[in-house]
């Protein structure tokens, strides 16, 4: 049998997960649809005053992104857990954190990245200041991978539970707070015409921190869940 190198294993797993996601197109649109739907609810609830909406638009967009990301988290490991693939992954010769990173990357490409496509449209509908569009896209680009990475720890901890859904949100949402604070404040600052470099640097720091630490925690949690 041919031995896979580590980077080969990473790419194979990434390709496999993307392929699986693309074969199941109807599910692909769900997080996106949820994102749009939640944002639509806000003007209906708080009233359609343009001033009010444009002021709270960064917060609305980010809370919706947070919820959409959280609801799609379960898909990272669910099907692999149920058909036993996950067990094989943990038994493989490659370090589990790298494999976890491949799966989380695939998940983010499928659920996080598409938010980039609709976010400007929704920002326009909410009347967000046009100067802030670039920063909005940047925060989504930097923030949603952090959400997927942190969330993967929570999913790995709750994967073996029958009713993991509520617990998952209890575990994960408090940890999402810093991302929410800095991303919406970056958009806020940009909308009032000031530079948002400080906030963006912090988000970059969060991204690298979670990129390096969270796969290790997720791997430990998966091993615990499978024992």
């Amino acid at each position: 049998m041919k031995r896979l190198s580590l980077s080969q294993a990473f790419w194979f797993l990434l390709r496999r997960d993307l392929l699986l996601a693309l074969r199941n197109r109807s599910e692909l649109a769900n997080p996106l649809l949820f994102f749009v739907l939640v944002i639509t609810l806000f003007p209906l609830a708080v009233g359609a005053e343009p001033n009010l909406l444009s002021r709270i638009a960064p917060g609305i967009i980010w809370v919706a992104a947070l919820l959409a990301s959280m609801l799609s988290l379960d898909g990272i490991f669910r099907s692999d857990f149920e058909d036993g693939t996950l067990e094989q992954m943990l038994l493989s010769a490659h370090p589990v954190p790298i494999l976890v990173l491949a799966k989380v990357t695939a998940h983010w490409l499928v659920t996080g990245l598409p938010l980039l496509l609709v976010a400007p449209l929704l920002a326009m509908m909410l009347g967000l200041d046009e100067d802030a569009y670039g920063i909005l896209l940047l925060t989504i680009l930097l923030g949603t991978p952090v959400l997927s990475l942190i969330g993967s720890i929570g999913v790995a901890l709750t994967i073996g539970l029958r009713k993991g859904g509520i617990i998952l949100s209890l575990l994960v949402l408090p940890l999402y707070v810093p991302v929410l604070i800095f991303s919406s404040s970056a958009i806020d600052v940009a909308a009032s015409g000031l530079p948002a470099t400080a906030q963006l640097s912090m988000m970059m720091a969060f991204l690298f921190l979670s990129l390096s630490l969270s796969p290790v925690a997720t791997a430990a949690a998966l091993k615990m869940s499978m024992s």
Binding site: L157, G164, I167, P174, L175, S185
Partner: protein
């Protein structure tokens, strides 16, 4: 010396030994707690002078501040237990971690409630979305998450390891959450005791505060020991030492 410590560490981790030791300590700790809490409350409520600005309502700090300190201290205890669990697979640490979570959540809740009771006469409102209040609230959610996860997993050995990972993840995140919330907004007064230079609080107010902090710590140990003893009996109900204990 080191060998002796390792031996002691392993013995300390054995459930029957800890059960007996904690039982021996409890009356002494209860006595110490009673002395400390009486002294602290008397010093705080009677001896300490009235504040020139806040009047009598500042006296709630003798409960509020120690409770807030405990809320963070207990999380540190839990995270340390988490590391012990993952490194040494120690059963006792699992029990301590799971038993400390409800106590920590109660202290956090107490800090929030006393803080908002103080806020009503001082700030004119029970709740403001200020940095420290918000991060304390998030800390409460972290505690509840740990309790929820521990309760949801049926196999308690697995549950112990799950909450260990969660406690460590939370530990890494607490400073980040704290500082992001701090940066987000602040209306709360700055630190008065834990500054590097001399504390900007008068001695007659400081000593009751520190006494109360110590009393709360002792209370935590008492409450923890009692919970751990009960949980140990429940977990080890099929072993011989529990059987002998029940028979004798």
């Amino acid at each position: 010396m080191f060998k002796w410590f390792v031996k002691w560490f392993h013995r300390f981790g054995s459930p029957p030994y800890f059960y007996r030791l904690a039982g021996l300590w409890l009356p002494w700790l209860t006595g110490l707690f009673t002395i400390l809490v009486v002294a602290g409350l008397y010093g705080g409520l009677v001896l300490a002078p009235t504040d020139y600005q806040q009047g009598e309502s500042y006296r709630i700090i003798f409960v509020h501040v120690p409770a807030a300190w405990m809320s963070m201290f207990i999380y540190m205890v839990m995270a340390s237990c988490g590391i012990i669990i993952l490194v040494w697979r120690m059963k006792l640490a699992e029990v301590v971690l799971s038993c400390a979570a409800p106590i920590g959540a109660s202290f956090t809740f107490l800090a929030l409630v006393t803080g908002s009771l103080w806020g009503k006469p001082m700030w004119g409102t029970y709740w403001v979305w200020d940095a420290r209040l918000t991060s304390e609230l998030i800390l409460l959610f972290l505690y509840l998450g740990i309790m929820g996860l521990y309760g949801a997993i049926d196999d308690k050995r697995v549950a112990g390891r799950a909450v260990a990972i969660l406690a460590i993840v939370g530990m890494v995140n607490i400073p980040i959450i704290h500082y992001s919330v701090e940066w987000w907004n602040s209306l709360h007064q700055g630190p008065t005791v834990t500054k590097f230079d001399k504390p900007s609080i008068v001695w007659s107010m400081l000593w009751p505060l520190l006494t109360m902090a110590l009393a709360f710590k002792v209370y935590f140990v008492i409450s923890l020991f009692q919970r751990v003893r009960a949980e140990l009996l429940h977990r080890e109900r099929n072993t011989r030492w529990v059987e002998e204990l029940v028979k004798s």
